[in-house]
């Protein structure tokens, strides 16, 4: 993939939490319309990578460009307005807001209106999101805190879609969900790619990653130790065993 075509390009970023060195020199590229998955165990820097791109924990060194523009130095709200939405770890839906208020928050006048409309992508509005997640339609006036884990995950994804982002950053959407709901998340991701969205997914769930990824990076202690297709990863017993804790036999 040529650099000039990348929707998101991360180059040599170094990110710290206080004095602890979490990401040391990560680089990755994501082409428009693709799903790139970052696989790794807990504490390897997956969430920090998402936070670095979103501007929540800005990298100290390195470059992040999105749609040709540098994101370095931009505050999180400006990065969001440029077309990046986040489905954070633990959903982080607004618990005291109703489902309706959660979904319409990104369309508030305060959220900026300079987002360009992309004709190649589906344009999401409230009706479209509710058609995608019918179970939310029945709970529009419930507060976010009253939803089940699965419903909260749907709401977190719906909230991200309401911003009509070019890129969605998803942080462990399968966490704490039943296998059936993980299956649902997988279907949603296939659907989003079909609608023209690009997704950067960080996950521990190998099966989910294999099922949706166009390209996989494996992260260990703040560095990528593998980059390739799901097929290539499934043949790489060494990486599977030492960095993901699965034996090659189980991955098939």
């Amino acid at each position: 993939m040529a650099t000039s075509e990348a929707l998101l390009a991360v180059r040599e970023i170094h990110t710290y939490y206080g004095d602890s060195y979490v990401l040391n020199g990560l680089s990755l590229e994501l082409a428009a319309g693709r799903i790139v998955v970052i696989l790794g165990r807990n504490g390897m820097g997956k969430t920090t990578l998402i936070r670095s791109i979103a501007g929540l924990t800005p990298p100290r060194r390195g470059e992040v460009t999105f749609a040709g523009q540098s994101l370095i130095g931009k505050p999180p709200y400006a990065i969001a307005q440029s077309g990046i939405a986040i489905v954070p770890q633990g959903r982080r839906i607004f618990k005291s807001l109703t489902v309706r208020e959660n979904l319409t928050l990104p369309t508030s006048a305060l959220a900026g209106r300079q987002r360009a409309r992309h004709d190649s992508r589906k344009h999401w509005d409230l009706a479209g999101v509710l058609a995608e997640f019918p179970q939310l339609a029945e709970r529009m006036d419930n507060t976010g805190g009253a939803l089940s884990g699965g419903e909260q995950q749907m709401l977190a994804i719906g909230r991200a879609l309401m911003a009509n982002p070019a890129l969605i950053l998803m942080d462990e959407p399968s966490e704490g969900l039943s296998p059936k709901l993980v299956q649902k998340v997988e279907e949603i991701m296939h659907g989003l790619r079909a609608h023209g969205h690009s997704i950067l997914l960080v996950e521990q769930n190998l099966a989910l990653a294999m099922a949706v990824a166009d390209s996989i990076y494996v992260i260990s202690s703040g560095q990528f130790v593998f980059h390739g297709t799901p097929d290539e990863l499934s043949r790489n017993a060494g990486i599977l065993d030492s960095h993901l804790g699965v034996s090659a036999a189980r991955s098939h």
Partner: protein
């Protein structure tokens, strides 16, 4: 019996005043976790400026608006140039804003002197009304109760029924996530803080018409407002409403029944409440 009723009205009218001050304090804290101890001084300064306007123009209404707006300007300066640069350290915020309050207090003393001053109200607010049972009660305090109810309903509707209110509530839940949704929370805070400052300045003018304005009044009122938000729960509008009424009534009955222990009557129940519910009645874990 007459006194019981009169003290109830006294307490509720004081509660209306306390609501004006504490609603802003609690919402700015809820949204930005900023502890601003200068709200008492905002109250006093708003009152003095309202006094000067009322004397110059003869209009109490103009005094209310002018006192409120003057504090909006001051409050913006304090937020932008003093509080924001020091970041999220609560101890630093407390020390800084207590210092700001002292400076404001000294400036007020230099301009308006140390006497107890009262703001003249409009003619239609003077005199008494007669309640059933031949109870005479100052008209002004009834007007204050109505004003407090009006302010509480307006603020409640703004907070719960508008999209900007929803954004503020979302910010109280999870400010970082609001930012990541594309909303500039700092700019939103300027709006909320301006509203809070306005209410504090207005409180000073309406309070200065029945309590008095004098050096030290800023700390008396601040203590009461702090008890309101601690009882009601920091960051909760409902808590500010309920806490204001509770503190107003405790203060009124305490001064009447146990004048030597009136502060104990205030802090005793607060301490007991905190034993069982450390976040206050409506508060959440922060």
């Amino acid at each position: 019996m007459r006194s019981v009723i009169l003290q109830a009205i006294n307490g509720i009218s004081l509660g209306a005043l306390l609501f004006l001050l504490s609603s802003g304090f609690t919402l700015t804290f809820g949204l930005m976790r900023v502890v601003n101890m200068a709200y008492g001084a905002y109250y006093l300064l708003g009152g003095y400026i309202g006094l000067t306007i009322a004397r110059a123009t003869g209009s109490f209404e103009l005094a209310i608006v002018g006192g409120g707006l003057a504090v909006v300007v001051l409050g913006y300066g304090v937020d932008r140039f003093l509080i924001r640069p020091i970041g999220s350290n609560h101890l630093a915020q407390v020390l800084l804003t207590v210092g700001v309050a002292f400076v404001i207090g000294e400036v007020c003393l230099a301009i308006w002197g140390g006497d107890n001053l009262k703001i003249p109200t409009s003619a239609y607010l003077r005199g008494s009304i007669v309640l059933p049972g031949e109870l005479y009660y100052p008209k002004y305090r009834f007007a204050l109760i109505l004003f407090g109810i009006f302010a509480a309903i307006s603020l409640w509707l703004l907070y719960h029924k508008t999209q900007i209110g929803a954004v503020v509530r979302a910010g109280v839940d999870d400010r970082e996530m609001v930012n990541a949704t594309g909303i500039n929370v700092d700019r939103l805070f300027v709006l909320v803080s301006a509203l809070a400052s306005f209410f504090a300045g207005v409180a000073g003018v309406v309070g200065g018409a029945f309590l008095t304005l004098n050096p030290g009044a800023e700390w008396d009122i601040l203590v009461l407002a702090l008890v309101v938000v601690i009882i009601g729960g920091l960051g909760s509008l409902e808590g500010a409403i309920l806490g204001s009424v509770i503190v107003g009534l405790l203060d009124a009955y305490g001064r009447w029944l146990l004048p030597e222990f009136s502060y104990f009557v205030l802090f005793g129940p607060m301490a007991v409440l905190l034993l069982f519910r450390v976040t206050g009645i409506f508060g959440k874990e922060h």
